[in-house]
Symmetry: C2
Subunit: 337 residues, 2 copies
């Protein structure tokens, strides 16, 4: 029997090349850290599993430095303040931020994304549709794709954490939505729960033919989470003036050397189309407006909760690979206790 | 001795696959056509040679239907109205438009781009810097690349008809300009006549290393006329927020099947960069504002005349290949008499 709480945490123990797998991590117990003046202690409730974690675990140029070997894996998490010596954070407040895959995190506030004020909604949503995934969908779609009512909007990883929000927001905006996903189960999720007009199973169907049938007037907007063959098919069917948000490249596991694929230049020219690289962190100052709108849509029942929750810290090491294999249905989270 | 004028013209006599060569054309003499009511006769002075003519001569999807075998090759030209039964066009007026590679063209006005009013400047400029090339440079740079003073602007085919105008306009806007071109002669042209800060000879230099030296803070704007290896090098050195105009793909001679190359998606994401496909015909309503500005710059000596003129209709059949081989210095034209 262990009367003392321990800080169960997931350490990056070796350097992956490409997608991190379970044996790149170790799960260990450490003492619960002490807090100093100006600090507070967070007990995490959910850990996030995100495609960006592949980049953070690899030793390759990125917009953040790689996680060091022996360090707690960097991740988003949500939890409750359980002790505080910081004037702005009180015991009992729920916060989301970059707390890492650990049960207890000490913070001085610098790694907090926000205080989660929606106490009528589950805290896990702060890592999904009311977190980075939701705001990524919101700004990536609205700013990058600039959809207008009547547009045909294609979404890859259509049932995933970001894609499911993109599809639903596009539908709210009056667009025809076509989702591309990787299993019959997710196709049903797309059309029955997420409101897509059409969903395509890229593992079973001829994506080119299915897109042609689903988008007879061409594709006005494409929210690209994949790169790879799915995007290649979309690029052949752009409508004039198409807008593409390049938000993720989950279909390609290695960028060193840069993988080759069909050149997009002529397709962009013929359609006078635009491809816009997107990084949500550029939009930080505008998160509150997006979260307010997204929370309103959740409360109105327009944005469905779409989560895939793994139980316990021991599930975390294999979770990034699971994400890249598309085995999750919805936002992938680890629940910790 | 032939007292009657003849309509010397260049016929597309067989279907090329890729770049049209001399033997895809025949030069023939026909009777000068008669005009009917509402028509006028143009005697052409210069024929244009443009990269787009590859696409027009091939039997592939394009923004215009392919030129039929046996028809006069489609091209831009400039000439003088020599007879008119059209109320809006008077004998002696200079017009530019899609008159084809023929000495005499009948028009009802539908294929006229504009009346060339700059009678203080050579009419050939209406096919270059005061024609489609100039307005392509103007709108492609300003709208597609949105340069601001201090930006580093890289231009491929820097000494060519469009590129030479892009580089000069960017310089006028206060940008640092880096041109990429294909011979020592053109490097000199770029730095001595066209005002580039740096010019790189891609046939002799390591383009990656030369770009790194020329653009220490990364590339803010790229006006892409080439696709291919030059663009691949540029894409590795984008500054955050870079803007790319995809205006031409002269480095790649065949798009069926789509050629492969390094995927741009991750570079776009990391730099939050934008690639915009560009077709000048979309800007038709705004040509007058651009031409007025460009003519003013020509008169002020800020925009250099940059032409490569071939003599006689017999030079036209080989001219498209010459263009794709980069053997021209400046806007390639055929002078007809």
């Amino acid at each position: 029997m262990n009367a003392q709480p321990t800080n169960r945490r997931v350490i990056l123990s070796s350097r992956p090349k490409g997608v991190p797998e379970a044996d790149h991590f170790t799960v260990e117990d450490a003492d619960v850290p002490e807090i100093g003046d100006g600090e507070f202690l967070i007990k995490t409730e959910y850990w996030s599993v995100d495609p960006a974690m592949r980049g953070w675990a690899n030793d390759a140029p990125n917009y953040l430095p790689p996680v060091e070997i022996g360090a707690v894996m960097r991740s988003f998490a949500v939890g409750t303040v359980v002790a505080s010596r910081h004037p702005d954070y009180a015991e009992g407040e729920v916060v989301s931020g970059m707390f890492g895959w650990q049960r207890y995190a000490v913070s001085d506030g610098g790694n907090v994304d926000r205080k989660v004020a929606e106490d009528d909604l589950p805290s896990s949503l702060a890592l999904g549709v009311l977190g980075l995934n939701g705001v990524t969908a919101y700004f990536g779609l609205i700013d990058g794709c600039a959809p207008v009512a009547g547009d045909t909007v294609v979404v890859s990883t259509a049932a995933g954490a970001v894609g499911s929000a993109v599809g639903q927001i596009a539908r709210i905006m009056g667009c025809r939505t076509v989702g591309i996903t990787g299993s019959a189960e997710k196709v049903s999720l797309c059309t029955e729960k997420l409101g897509y007009d059409v969903a395509i199973n890229y593992r079973e169907e001829d994506v080119n033919a299915a897109l042609k049938a689903a988008c007879p007037d061409g594709i006005n907007c494409y929210f690209d989470n994949t790169c790879g063959p799915i995007s290649d098919a979309v690029m052949t069917q752009l409508a004039i003036g198409a807008r593409i948000t390049v938000c993720g490249t989950v279909a390609l596991t290695d960028w060193d050397p840069i993988p080759v694929g069909p050149r997009v230049h002529r397709q962009l020219m013929v359609a006078r189309a635009r491809m816009q690289g997107f990084l949500i962190l550029d939009y930080k100052a505008r998160f509150p407006e997006a979260i307010e709108q997204l929370a309103a849509w959740v409360r109105e029942g327009k944005l469905a909760r779409n989560e895939h929750i793994l139980e316990g810290a021991e599930t975390a090491p294999g979770a990034i690979k699971m994400l890249y294999e598309g085995k999750n249905t919805g936002k992938l989270l680890v629940r910790v206790d």
